[in-house]
Symmetry: C2
């Protein structure tokens, strides 16, 4: 199905569909204005500036026979950008998505253009660079009035961002598809807005990578950092070194065609692809395939366990540099980005110290610690990368004054480490607070700022902070659960990296996050449907209502808590209760709001709703206990079910005492707080989301009577 954007010579085709518009504006101006403002604020990430004005642009009027018309301005005097294939593809995707929101007329109309009408004009000045560069102009302006929409941008990148904003503004109401009148001037705060995916610990197929890139584009992330090798597997096909995938991938790897496909797919969405091949540590898979470049550790198989292994490259040997030169040169042909990630993390260097030849080399060079040898290694890598036209990026550990100032330091150790490298004049990226497997809330991740308002860095040093990267390590995720760990929280970080520093309204962020979450799911991600599938699969019940209720009140413990409790390794099944619950579910806030309404507003209706909620928890017990014995994957759930019901009892009792004239009996408060405290300890590697709210309720029920001195 080919539907090239309909191109016309000049801009004078903008016309309003006035009759249909009048129909729509029969509602009172003030309510329309309110509605417009609400529309405008659905955008995520928030634009640099957004001014709502009055009225609506009608995309497809109610009951109209003629549909949507779009003009891509070819600006003939400036090089014919309207014929840019990347822009054309982006416009085609825009039409397909508008069609879904606005009904089947958009594509049909665009395929059969009518002279003299266009609701939307897109004007782009230049196609953008052949290889997307760091700092390339991503700005755009979007002006929507009742008589037409105009999206303009200096490059195709900006135009694509503007299209995502436009799609977030469109809604279908009263039979018409409309966009509120608005003026948006937008550009990113940080130039490097990344998402890192580890495909070594658990592999992800190309289709999942592409869905991820779709999601990234929707929230204006622009760097896909692809962690392609680690101890547990080597995932990139090399033709020069075929043993990488032949013996060290378990058959799970990307062919060179697939990697090129991913690069093209990303470019088409304004996303750079930065590959990472982690050296000189985290290289067990390298050394299983090519022991001759290793420090001497005898590797016979890919590791079953995770953690820091002892398998380093022999960085004292010229053979290793020759190997790396050839390999990196091959990969440089596939990945056109200016940056190449060399990892560099967690190299303890015990293998170096244990190897007499390498120990002698260190002594000869005057190195007393492995870190110095690693710094030597990085210096040796620099000219190799430069020969292949690449700049270096690596994790914290590569930071060393011997390196030139155009390397980028990615901080997994935290803000202090980032400040330190910027202080030394290095460019940096913040990652520590954006580790998804920490299972922190969207709120916590959103508030972490690469350059906080109270930064100690001088203005010039602040400029060295290029942005940040959300990181998804995959020891504890696989295809089924990946999306539910990544989304929607990643959208909150995307806003942090794009939007102004002053954007810190948590409630508003969550409101928009819930909406963008649905759009992400509709675009093919499975963070909502994935867990639902797991509940169904775990319970063998097509409508596992009790399980859904129970799961909605739980979240996974952090990576390290799970690692400690389960000693997770590659045989750990990732389809148990902990995998079927999601981080930061809405229940935490819902309970808090309901308890607020009861305690602060004495809202009787809220009290009834809360009581109904606790009663539903009690009623879920038989189905949950039956599920717990139906699958070994739910066998650790039973104690949590018991707690769930006991907590429901506590909630109902607290509500009753709040309504009653009789005080709780002596010891009631302590007993209930003990129940809550017990529920706070980790069981089945999941935790309840609502315990602080329940504690407030219990405390209030006890206090209420104390303060008011009732009998």
């Amino acid at each position: 199905m080919k539907l090239a954007a309909h191109a016309r010579p000049v801009r004078n085709v903008l016309q309003a569909s006035a009759a249909a518009l009048l129909l729509l504006l029969t509602s009172s101006p003030s309510s329309a204005a309110e509605r417009d403002a609400a529309h405008a604020l659905q955008v995520m990430p928030l634009p640099r500036s957004l001014e709502p004005s009055q009225g609506l642009l009608v995309i497809t009027p109610a009951g109209a026979l003629s549909g949507f018309q779009l003009l891509v301005d070819p600006l003939p005097g400036r090089g014919g950008v309207g014929t840019d294939t990347r822009l054309q593809s982006a416009v085609q995707r825009l039409l397909v998505r508008l069609d879904r929101t606005c009904g089947g007329d958009v594509l049909r109309s665009a395929a059969a253009p009518v002279a003299g009408r266009a609701q939307l004009e897109i004007a782009v000045e230049a196609p953008g660079e052949a290889v997307q560069s760091l700092g390339e102009d991503e700005s755009y302006t979007l002006e929507v009035t009742p008589s037409g929409g105009h999206l303009s941008a200096p490059t195709v990148l900006g135009a694509m961002h503007g299209m995502e904003t436009l799609l977030q503004l469109v809604s279908f109401e009263d039979g018409a598809c409309v966009v509120p009148a608005v003026t948006i001037h937008d550009a990113p705060r940080f130039a490097w807005r990344g998402f890192m995916l580890d495909v070594s610990r658990h592999f992800e197929p190309v289709s999942e990578i592409e869905h991820t890139l779709d999601g990234m584009a929707m929230v204006k992330l622009n760097v896909f950092h692809w962690h392609l090798s680690d101890d547990q597997g080597f995932r990139a096909e090399s033709r020069l070194f075929p043993r990488f995938t032949a013996v060290a991938s378990s058959g799970e790897f990307y062919t060179q065609e697939q990697m090129r496909e991913v690069v093209a797919y990303a470019r088409a969405r304004g996303i750079r692809v930065v590959p990472e091949f982690d050296v000189p540590g985290h290289t067990t898979s390298w050394l299983l395939a090519y022991p001759e470049i290793g420090a001497g550790e005898h590797i016979t198989t890919l590791p079953v366990t995770f953690g820091i292994p002892q398998a380093e490259l022999d960085v004292s040997s010229e053979k290793t540099y020759k190997f790396l030169d050839a390999f990196l040169g091959e990969m440089a042909q596939i990945f056109p980005d200016a940056y190449f990630h060399i990892g560099g993390d967690e190299t303890e260097g015990k293998g170096w110290l244990d190897n007499p030849r390498i120990a002698a080399f260190m002594k000869q060079k005057g190195f007393s610690k492995p870190a110095e040898l690693q710094a030597y290694f990085n210096q040796r890598l620099l000219p190799i990368l430069a020969r292949h036209h690449k700049k270096m990026i690596g994790w914290d550990e590569i930071l060393n004054p011997a390196l030139p100032k155009d390397v980028v330091i990615q901080s997994w150790r935290g803000e202090a480490s980032l400040v330190q490298s910027a202080g030394q004049g290095y460019q940096g990226l913040l990652s520590a607070p954006y580790y998804l497997d920490g299972q922190k809330t969207a709120e916590e991740m959103f508030l972490a700022d690469p350059v906080p308002a109270d930064t100690t860095l001088a203005a010039a040093q602040q400029k060295l902070i290029l942005g940040g990267e959300v990181c998804m390590w995959s020891e504890q995720v696989h295809s089924v659960t990946l999306d539910s760990r990544v989304w929607p929280r990643t959208a909150a970080v995307a806003e942090r990296l794009w939007s102004p520093q002053a954007d810190r309204d948590i409630a508003d962020m969550y409101r928009r996050l819930r909406r963008v979450s649905l759009s992400l799911e509709a675009a093919g991600l499975t963070h909502i449907s994935g867990p639902q599938q797991l509940w169904r699969d775990l319970t063998r019940n097509p409508h596992p209502e009790a399980m859904e209720l129970f799961a909605s009140m739980l979240e996974p413990v952090s990576f390290s808590d799970r690692y400690q409790a389960q000693k997770t390794d590659r045989f750990t099944s990732l389809d148990r209760l902990v995998d079927a619950v999601v981080p930061d579910p809405p229940s935490r806030q819902e309970l808090a709001r309901e308890v607020d309404a009861v305690l602060l507003s004495r809202d009787q209706e809220a009290a009834r709703r809360l009581a109904a909620r606790f009663t539903a928890w009690q009623h879920s017990e038989p189905e949950l206990l039956s599920a717990a014995v139906s699958s070994p994957r739910l066998s650790d759930m039973r104690p949590r079910v018991h707690q769930f019901v006991t907590l429901a009892d506590a909630g109902l009792e607290a509500l009753a005492y709040l309504q009653s004239s009789a005080p709780p009996p002596p010891g009631w408060r302590a007993a209930k707080l003990a129940v809550i405290a017990e529920a706070e300890t980790p069981v089945a590697v999941v935790r309840f989301t609502f315990l602080p709210s329940l504690r407030r309720l219990v405390e209030a029920a006890a206090k209420d009577h104390q303060q008011e001195g009732r009998p």
Copy 2:
């Protein structure tokens, strides 16, 4: 992750885990026996013979540290089949799936074998033919006793079928993973048990094809009939004729590597792949790419509409045969199966009659009708196919006495047509009753038998009926909805084609169908989650309860009813209400059972449940009406919502009159029946599933009082 099946030299390793077993058998023998029988009957399709006996085989005992051990008998004297790679892969998949049912110990144990224990032994006599043949032995025997399981088969095909049966028998209960003791001797009734997928009208990616093959293997279907070309698109890459995909595929096609991958994937699951290239009609895509072999119709684009086009190959020209010889030869290299499907349906031949040269050719040959020219074409194709070592299969229209008796006729016209071809000595397949887009119930499809008990065919002619094929034409489905049209109904037909003729117990079929449906979904098909995703997407609500309730009481109208109502074409969006409801949902039977309980057993509890159900329908109205205005894709839903609530009112009133001593007022019965009759007319191309049950309830409420003569 490589986990080769653990092979041992002899069979003496079968040992019971006696202690754990005793623990399990503490329940009374009679209840255990009942449970065993229930287990055994979860199998779908039903085996040829199944004898439950007493006790359970413990796969992974409760709380045990040592896990599952499996022995693949290499039978060294008979050729070392245990080392057959297809068998090894099948065993590996068995372990992965057992691991999911039984907990993470199965894979871990299999990876670290312990001497002297094995719960399951698999013995296979021969690897099977290099290219799976029609009629190849698919039988197997599965014997399970408390002391061990033994699966034996003459070929790997039978062993794979036996593994699917075993997996259906396994369950997790009281902390142990168990298989009931049973003896099964199984073999298929029909040798050709197919599923046809049209990928021309809407394309399906390779991943969807592979999921479909997984589902087919689970219910023992053995032929994937791949409809690779039609008017709307040509989906197979040809290197000799690259314009097929360059201009006539819209970029959606399978590369030769992908087609070989599908063939290998299918073979690994005991499934033959029969490609179809439909000639000499349904060839618009052919003639867009290569007009020189056409009858003269001027084709400029792929069709937007569906239906029978006018675009035939020029079957009078030698050029056409030379082209087909080269093309079929190329495809024969990719598809090793003995059969090649040449389509042949719906060739009206108007283009032949309109072309003076072809008309003259017909006259010269003495043909008065296009059908005769098509018969000539088929005769010309025969030696071409034979040269490439292929036998011919085609639709009804190829039937002609001039063809040899080893061609296969696939009947889309119906049973009479099949009987006719068998009467003439041709082999045949039944397809007409198995068209999924007819939206018939699983029951109707299951009862349609290629050789019914009352067949008029003689025994020798009956043998010519090779089996049947479920057909999925794709004018009205795409990736998101495909699975919900295909599954679980296809499993019911799979049972018809595999199991004995006498297997006609509808209630028992549905009981097992509901269970296999969950297993299919767990294996990666999305017939349950797909519609849920659509409801969420249509309503932009993560928990669209009212929508789910409403949708569960609806089903799509038939292909032709939708085609008439919507004039569907390639721009018709396939994500509306009709796409979000599924054929033959459980609600039809649930309502019937509840009404039975109320009317036949005067069951008060059932009456309360039914009343609660009707009340929930009433309460769903505001959410449904709000959804109807929120998306253009739900805009046709409003009248159905109104009917839904009105029908709920009728149900509640009927229940009230059934309980009351007062009769309904005059005209009540007629008014309610009119409401039901109105709801029977098609609206929004969906129909209610429960109207016959509601009518019975209304009639009973009116009659009750008449008969019993209450005041």
